[in-house]
Amino acid sequence: MITTNAPDKRTTAALSFHNIGMTFPDGTVAIDDVSFDVDKGEFITIVGPSGCGKSTLLKIASGLLDNTKGTVAVDRDRIGYVFQDATLLHWRTVRANVELFAELHGIDSSERRHLAQDAIDLVGLTGFENHYPKSLSGGMKMRASLARTLTLKPPVFLFDEPFGAVDEITREHLNDETQQLFLKEGFAGLFITHSISEAVFMSTKVLVMSARPGRIVAEFPVPFDYPRHPDIRFEPEFAKLSGEISHALRGSHS
């Protein structure tokens, strides 16, 4: 299902926002005139203050919310969407959780199991297939959530601040793994975060969004080659770019 009524050049992108506006029923303007594309092989991160409508944008992309203005062009059949919380079903083991989407898409059980095992191995949860979520740490839950989404082999991958609740060390590992997933799967990634370092480390491009109404106020291409070593965070160029983004972000607050 392609949701579009803007038959222009933008439809070539995996995910394309065109003049998106979102006004909630109570009159709050959450997003105002946002346009950008995410191509296959692009990993775009949006940073912005809390409540600037970053998450709303992902909900619009996935179809969970209907935008009040503009158009979105994306194939919603196999869209990958990782939430802020792992949202694992407590009553299912890791394996059964990872199989959920394939199950909902009517894929037969042997194929499902195969897909799930591949995804579990890919996120490093091998050996935990029969564990229930209650016995997993926050980082492992997030991995299971990533694995669940990976089973769909989504061409478009939305991340709604997925590593906000884990500790710094785990977060850096997860960033590194996400980068590797991106390199291996080559999806079009749209990532939301508060962390500038996380944004710069993984992305091909960082967008800065302003507070309500949410607008894209600055755009920073990230010039570093992949794969990026975790220690790149300590390079001067990395610090310089982070500084510029931080500056733009502070500007967006006022």
Binding site: W91, G124, K134
Partner: protein, 299 residues
């Protein structure tokens, strides 16, 4: 992706946790400490029980004279006249069995009806809004005030007793099931929405499993209530199969204090047994993944 630091530490933690259960040596340690906890848990209720029995003797022999001792027979008389006399005990056990059957049938009907209503209410907001005030009202009516009406409509036999059980036990089932069905997190619903799950799939794979802890909480409450319903119904209607209620009434009329106390003890034992049965079932069904200790969901 290769070994990552925090996965390699996390498995170790859970490995230690499970080795306590599987290793040979720690089992002995765990065994003695289990005996220790058992002792710790038992001594205080045992002391209190002894204290209560002491008071009981004091009242029976100290406060009541010979003529009025039927008001509270001493404990050993309850045991010798109630529990150790086969005639009395067999009569009581038979009555207990009859009441158990009534409670079980009543509970079964209440479960079916309660689930059905809760599912309908969870699917249609209008139905929920329409029914809820009446359910609360029904819950607030004292069951004894309803029993005459019930006997008008269904007579004084088995059916009426079952009806009493259904009425008394259905409310916690509906409320807990409904609460449970609505307890699935928003994010989980979003997952099902994103992947175009239909109503039935959502109900079967998301709402029902999410509701299990609350459903069991409701079951444990309702099972106990159903036992009360069976005894109360039998006591009030007083006809048909002899249940505990009829025996209580007869013993009371004939001032058989020992038997009366025995029947009270037996019927509360039935209530406790039913509660334990459902707690056990709950652990079997959802103990593996559910880690709440209190059972969630309240009526």
């Amino acid at each position: 992706m290769t070994a990552i630091d925090d996965t390699s530490t996390e498995p170790r933690q859970s490995a230690t946790a499970s080795s306590i259960v599987h290793d040979a040596t720690p089992v002995i340690v765990a065994g003695t400490s289990r005996a220790r906890t058992l002792f710790d848990n038992l001594w205080s209720p045992a002391v209190f029980g002894a204290f209560v029995i002491g008071i009981w003797y004091l009242v029976s022999y100290g406060l009541l004279d010979e003529q009025r001792r039927f008001l509270l027979r001493p404990p050993h008389r309850v045991i010798s006249e109630g529990f150790l006399k086969w005639d009395t005990l067999s009569e009581l056990l038979l009555a207990l069995w009859s009441s158990t059957k009534v409670a079980a049938i009543g509970l079964f009907i209440a479960i079916c009806l309660g689930f059905f209503l809760a599912v309908i209410m969870s699917q249609t907001k209008v139905v929920e809004r329409a029914l809820f005030p009446y359910l609360v009202t029904l819950q607030a009516v004292p069951i004894l005030a309803l029993t005459p009406l019930i006997s008008f409509w269904w007579g004084t036999g088995q059916t009426s007793r079952v009806v009493v059980c259904v009425i008394i036990s259905i409310f916690p089932l509906i409320v807990n099931t409904l609460f449970g069905l609505q307890s699935a997190e928003r994010g989980m619903h979003d997952l099902f929405t994103l992947h175009h799950a239909n109503r039935i799939t959502r109900l079967r794979k998301l709402m029902f499993p999410a509701a299990m802890p609350a459903i069991f909480a409701g079951l444990r409450i309702s099972a106990g209530l159903s036992v009360i319903g069976a005894v109360v119904g039998d006591f009030f209607f007083g006809k048909g199969d002899v249940g505990i209620g009829q025996l209580v009434r007869r013993y009371a009329n004939q001032l058989q204090g020992e038997e009366l106390i025995t029947s009270v003890i037996l019927s509360s034992a039935l209530g406790v047994a039913v509660f334990l049965l459902f707690t056990w079932l709950q652990n079997k069904a959802i103990g593996k993944w559910y880690d709440g200790s209190s059972g969630g969901g309240g009526a």
